[in-house]
């Protein structure tokens, strides 16, 4: 009897790991599709050959130098945003939480815009309307200051007894508008070319991140992921209430601010280099809740992979819909994400 019970439980765990593995395969497939899509049309076979050879042939140069950074950026940023959303939902006990719905992304975005225009951390590259970030650390620092200050406000509000999940999101809307207003003000005083590039940047743009930037996002995300995974049982414990969690030895007073701080950090770094990409952090965890349940052991890695897949797909769509024009990715994720967000709010009201 004992063995059977344990076997059944192991089977249950295996199912979830298989689901994650399948999702990982989907991610790989989407990455290859994304590599083959673009102005120079390459077949999937060409892409795979180029990936294998890395020999300096034109295909290999296109795949490795032109398209790969974009794909890598989509994967890293998608994973980062989804992971931060997942953890924010856990510690705030709020299914509507994510960096974009609570205004953390907008705060970070404002900080970055401030650094780029007023402090000269960005510069024009040639005649094109794209923006080079000359001092990535400074931009990231300011983005982080913007993101973390929003987080502190949210954390404070969440401590008030009256703050229901929806109230917190309304607060997020208020904070977002404040920051959007402030960003507009910066643009008002910036010169024309700078304005053009900031506008372009606030839409979200995966094409701007090069290998250095991707490495920097990764360097922040990997330790954060490790921390989140080490705390997976603590997040599960928090699900059944703060007192329950404390009685299981979870140091809630440290875990919650630390988790939110790390979420703000990975959001800020992503936002600094790719602009504001909304709703991935909200939607990915919810998709995964449907698939693997609310167990953070599976939910955290699952959300990360799912976020990467979603952003990759969104990016492919942006490039394909009216090719060769590349639509701004932030606009697309907002278009698709906002209605889903509305559905979640409606469901939340019915349940709560």
């Amino acid at each position: 009897m004992g063995r059977e019970g344990i076997e059944a439980y192991r089977g249950y765990m295996r199912h979830r790991y298989v689901a994650l593995l399948l999702l990982l395969c989907l991610l790989a497939a989407m990455a290859v599709v994304s590599l083959s899509a673009g102005s120079a049309s390459l077949s999937v076979i060409d892409v795979l050959k180029a990936l294998a050879s890395h020999d300096g042939s034109p295909e290999s140069i296109i795949v490795w130098n032109v398209r790969m950074p974009r794909v890598a950026a989509a994967i890293v940023v998608g994973a980062a945003l989804a992971m931060s959303g997942c953890v924010m939902q856990a510690v705030l006990h709020n299914p509507l939480a994510s960096s974009s719905t609570l205004g953390v992304s907008q705060g970070a975005s404002f900080g970055a815009a401030l650094a780029i225009t007023c402090l000269g951390a960005g510069m024009q590259s040639g005649g094109s309307a794209s923006l080079l970030i000359s001092e990535p650390y400074m931009v990231t620092l300011f983005a982080f200051i913007g993101g973390i200050s929003t987080t502190i406000v949210i954390l404070f509000l969440s401590r008030l007894r009256i703050a229901s999940p929806s109230v917190l999101v309304l607060a997020g809307v208020a904070i977002s508008s404040t920051f959007s207003g402030a960003t507009t003000l910066i643009q008002y005083f910036a010169d024309d070319v700078m304005v053009a590039s900031i506008v372009y940047w606030t839409f979200g743009n995966l094409g701007r991140a090069g290998w250095n930037e991707i490495a920097m996002i990764g360097a922040v995300c990997v330790p954060a992921f490790v921390f989140f995974m080490l705390s997976r049982w603590d997040y599960n414990a928090i699900e059944s209430g703060e007192y329950s969690a404390r009685s299981l030895g979870v140091n809630v007073g440290v875990l919650v601010p630390l988790s939110l701080g790390l979420s703000a950090l990975i959001t800020s770094v992503s936002v600094s280099f790719t602009g504001c990409i909304s709703f991935i952090g909200l939607i990915a965890p919810h998709v995964m809740r449907r698939i693997v349940g609310n167990d953070y052991r599976y939910l955290i890695p699952g959300s990360a992979i799912c976020g990467a897949v979603l952003l990759l797909v969104a990016d492919i769509a942006c490039r394909m819909i009216i090719s060769p024009v590349v639509l701004p990715i932030g606009a697309l994720t907002s278009f698709v994400g906002a209605p889903l967000f509305l559905c979640l709010i409606l469901r939340e009201r019915r349940v709560g």
């Binding site: 009897m1 004992g2 019970g5 344990i6 059944a8 439980y9 249950y12 080490l230 049982w233 603590d234 599960n236 414990a237 699900e239 059944s240 209430g241 007192y243 329950s244 404390r246 009685s247 299981l248 030895g249 979870v250 140091n251 809740r289 349940g293 609310n294 167990d295 052991r297």
Partner: protein
């Protein structure tokens, strides 16, 4: 062995507990009784420091818990709250959470085996892969008790553990609690409202009235007078063999 010394607690201006003291030995089941709002749940949460008492101390096996870390307290004291939220996690994983105070990186084979043993003991085998939010209130209470047992504590705090259970399950649950207390030398403090259940399964009863300890007596010493003073109702206690019953109302 737990020694609760002079615990006082107030919510803002409102003093809820004043100078509450009592102690309980290994393997002993102590019922905590009192009116609604007497401060029973508050007392329980002050004992495991989920709430920080204004003054007083809790000593377990000679060690003061006042300066211990959360994890160390969690290895000594398990807690089943009065209400639990329905979480979308499997029953097995929910019980496995009781091992949280012991793990560093992840659950190992021993943790899963300990969990399985408790599941069999409580008879949750058929539910183990169900989701917590698909359970009835009573089934959920059993799961929470299982989690507390998996925690292998020295002291177990149960806040109305039988409130959602049918009579048969109330008895089974309390019998398991008492047997575990005896076998593993755990001290159990259980908030109960059913006086007959308390007289059947508790070794001693601690009555709380308006935030103060009213009296702490062995189950044979409980009489109608105490019950009248604590609850303000007429009651009589009868003995039949070595069992005792309370009849409420004159």
């Amino acid at each position: 062995m737990i020694d609760v010394r002079n615990i006082s607690f107030s919510y803002g201006q409102k003093a809820v507990l004043q100078d509450v003291s009592f102690s309980a030995g290994d393997g002993e089941v102590v019922g905590i009784l009192g009116n609604n709002g007497a401060g029973k749940s508050t007392l329980i949460t002050c004992i495991n420091r989920v709430r920080r008492p204004d003054s007083g101390d809790v000593i377990i096996d000679g060690l003061s818990t006042g300066s211990m870390k959360e994890r160390d307290i969690a290895r000594l004291i398990a807690y089943v709250p009065q209400n639990t939220e329905a979480v979308r996690i499997s029953v097995f994983d929910s019980i496995l959470l009781g091992r949280r105070p012991y793990i560093r990186w992840g659950m190992g084979r021993e943790d899963i085996e300990a969990c399985q043993a408790v599941i069999e003991r409580i008879g949750l085998g058929s539910l183990q892969l169900r989701c917590m939010d698909e359970l009835s209130g009573g089934e959920m209470q059993k799961v929470m008790l299982a989690r507390a047992l998996v925690q292998k504590p020295r002291v177990m705090l149960l806040d109305e553990p039988t409130s959602n259970l049918d009579p048969r399950n109330q008895h089974e649950m309390m019998a398991i609690v008492r047997d575990m207390a005896r076998e593993e030398h755990i001290t159990v403090l259980a908030v109960l409202h059913d006086l007959n259940l308390a007289l059947r399964f508790c070794d001693r009863l601690f009555f709380l009235k308006d935030g103060r300890g009213f009296c702490c007596c062995g189950r044979d010493e409980v009489d109608g007078g105490i019950i009248r003073d604590v609850y303000g109702i007429d009651a009589e206690v009868f003995a039949a063999g070595d069992r005792r019953f309370v009849l409420i109302g004159g």
